[in-house]
């Protein structure tokens, strides 16, 4: 089964089994994430012996239209001895808040750029830009009124560079800054007279 299909099926099962009908919760209107990323870049698609392990970072910004649905855009980069990779994607985000925990899924499209070091090339390497598709999911845990920890985000990132398809896997973690609120508010109970 293709990796993207696996992730989609797993995400659907996950949200069905784990995210039971959630109690009504507020969601931040705006979310800004910044953190560390670890990539497993599909170098064998370019004739390499092994998958390249890249270290890098990611920033993203989300705008939640409703408690459950929003739009997110992200920019990410990863660096290794032979490969450097970047992507910029945008798309819808679905969220399921449960108390302080927010589970989310993302489906984004955009562009990717890969640069590969090749000995003998005039500039030490060659670059290519192509399309990118990112299917992601993760979990945030709120630690204060404006900050959450993104414990993990898993991305299946499909890129098309150098006329080849790459199936990449990426793991991210970091800090989320959020502000504004959207969703149902709990009414304060007035004491009985």
């Amino acid at each position: 089964m293709h990796t993207a299909t696996r992730l989609a099926v797993a995400a659907a099962l996950f949200f069905t089994l784990v995210v039971l009908p959630a109690a009504a919760q507020e969601m931040p209107r705006y979310q800004v994430f910044g953190g560390y990323s670890y990539w497993r870049f599909d170098s064998p698609s370019l004739g390499f012996a092994n998958t390249s392990e890249l270290n890098g970072g990611k920033i993203s910004a989300a705008f939640n239209l409703t408690r459950l649905f929003g739009v997110v855009g992200e920019v990410s980069g990863g660096w290794g001895p032979l490969v450097r990779a970047y992507d910029a994607v945008i798309g819808p985000q679905i969220s399921y808040p449960r108390g302080r925990t927010v589970f989310f899924g993302q489906l984004m499209f955009g562009k990717a750029k890969s640069r590969v070091a090749i000995q003998g090339e005039p500039n030490g390497g060659t670059s290519s830009t192509g399309r990118a598709f990112n299917l992601a999911g993760g979990v945030d845990y709120e630690i204060s009124s404006h900050f959450s920890i993104r414990a993990v985000q898993v991305d299946y990132l499909s890129t098309h560079t150098f006329d080849k398809d790459q199936s990449n896997l990426r793991f991210s973690a970091g800090l989320v800054y959020h502000f504004g609120r959207v969703g149902r508010h709990k009414k304060e109970k007035m004491p009985a007279p």
Partner: protein, 359 residues
Amino acid sequence: MRKNWGITISILLAIAAWASCGGGGNSSSSSHVLYITVPDSNGVSAFRINSSGQLTSVLGSPFPVGTSPHTIVGHPSGKFLYVANQSEDSISLLKIDSRSGAVAESLPRTPTGDSPSSLAMDSGGTLLFVSNQISSTISVYSIDSGAGTLTQVAGSPFLAHLNPSALLLSASGSLLYVAYPNLDRVSVYSVGSGGALQEIAGSPFPVGHGPAALATDSSAKFLFVANSSDNTLSVMAINSSTGALTQVSGSPFVTGTTPISLLVGPTGVLYVADLGSSDIRAFSIDVTTGALTQITNSPFSTDSNPTFLTMDSGGKLLLVASQGVKTVLEFKIDASSGQLTRSNSVTLGSAPAAVFSAR
């Protein structure tokens, strides 16, 4: 709440593990690279071959070398390739990046005699032999193990007979066999410690018409010669003391049209590429007499006009370069019978000349 949190994290980690297992981001660490000379494009094409025999072009391929590259050999260290540029009378030294499979030429090129046509290297990677077809000489170079650079040994180039072509160095490195297509002869030279060549008594030895390729069995008892002009194979017994050649009973043996390349495979079967009949013939070898017998289902059809045979470094695939359709074709070798089964192939922009499979 804590329990739900723990369950959530466990499931996310399991998703990540499942997605990463067997997905497109993983590769086989047993892969290696094929390097193919393409004379018309003055380049070397590179393809990574995985454990399933699937081929992926190496990024940056084809890599430029000199004019009309033909023969290619690899250093046993896996660090260097050497390519004979036939129209430029030179050898290109290529350094291999083992992670990517890419190669880069290290200049300047090493000059050879006129029209270098064949290369041979000893198993230790210390000496490189080059047959110079038009100048009728054999150049011998010592190889620097660190940089891969070539230095001509004392006495080189050594005078040979008219228009030497195919070269074959014995497994021990002590004998060099040289085919002379225009003389219908094969010479045998002893190789001195410094690479100096000395033709042995009785050499050159008569074979069939137009000897184009040479091979030996694993025990070095027999020398096989493809006679491209009379469509036969000469089988010569090798005197273990002197190196002298004697034709065995029943030789020469009939093969297809224009046998042009030979290879003894891991099962002890002799494979012959027939350029004119576009097939691969496979012969079992009698270990006592050297007599050849075609195996069941031989000849095996291949792409049009095969010109070169080599063994994949994994030992399970026979690789055939075909000039007619500009392909390199894989055949899976049956480990017990030596039977061939067609597998993957790559198509190049121009006709391939030779293939080297790196470790």
